[in-house]
Amino acid sequence: MKPRYLDPYLAGIGIGVVLLAAYVLVGRGLGASGGFSAVVASATVAVQAGDPANAALAPYVQVPVWRDWIVLELIGVAVGALLSARLAGRLALKVERGAHLTADSRMLFALLGGILMAFGAKLARGCTSGQALTGGALLSVGSWVFIGTTFAAGYLCAPLARRLWR
């Protein structure tokens, strides 16, 4: 049994209130890619593959990874999603993919997409959470530029990637 999803506008208002609470309580917004940056930077320093003073790593190793704000927030995201999926009967171990794609190809494109997104988010200093949501609602110019080129690239390339999803 799969209960219907919450109305998207209500889900959006819920996320907006959470984001507003983050502004008020901690003076910052939501994030996701920053958590991945912190995990990779900490691991790199831990295995002594990088100098903590290195400019690409330094901002992410100021505090231990378990006291990194975005890492803790992201753990909360996973727990919240797990609870919601469990209570809605949507918890299922499976590879979700387009009708014409094998599970192996789906995994490969998911990995490739992840690599590109991380690179893009590092260039842009944030992803859908840190730039589009957080910076968008604060009317940051760079965040709106990011939103614009993200959508533009997605729509421009969509016809080429049609077999992945249609």
Binding site: A11, G12, G16, G114, G154, L164
Partner: protein, 184 residues
Amino acid sequence: MMLDPAGALIAAPIIGLAFGWFLERGGLGSARKLSGLFYLTDFTVFRVLFSAVLTAMLGAFWLSRFGLLDLSAVHVPETFLVPQAVGGAVFGLGFLLAGLCPGTSCVAGAAGRIDGFAVIGGLLLGVLTFNISYPLIDGFVASTALGELTLPELLHMPYGVVVLLVTIIAIGGFVIASRLEKSA
């Protein structure tokens, strides 16, 4: 109202939990649903994203109007024009291939979607790739720095007017999205 650093760390997983809950409830843990955005068949992501932006934008505006929030104490992401434009384009292509973004890949993974874990693995690899190539691109990454620049400052318009314009444009977008979905 602002919490001290220890309080902020306690608030982090609670704020995250509520964020993850609403993302999953709205269906954003499903790559098939998200990818519908690019084929004009399912505008869920668009609706969730922009109704969240409107809510937080209007909330922050009115709270600051009534003196309940000091907007200058909230960190506005700095603008680096060209790297952010290019980063967005690379991100958009990745989003199309993955069908999930970094936050929603965690939602998908938590709900048992194995492809969500593949996206998470890709994100870790992508950060590593960026860090390794950083010495070659650090000049570009730091280029066209404009600081904490906002649309009202750029357009020389009052903050409230820009808030109103963004609200009108977003509502227009919601109406167009409904029409496109019906015709698809």
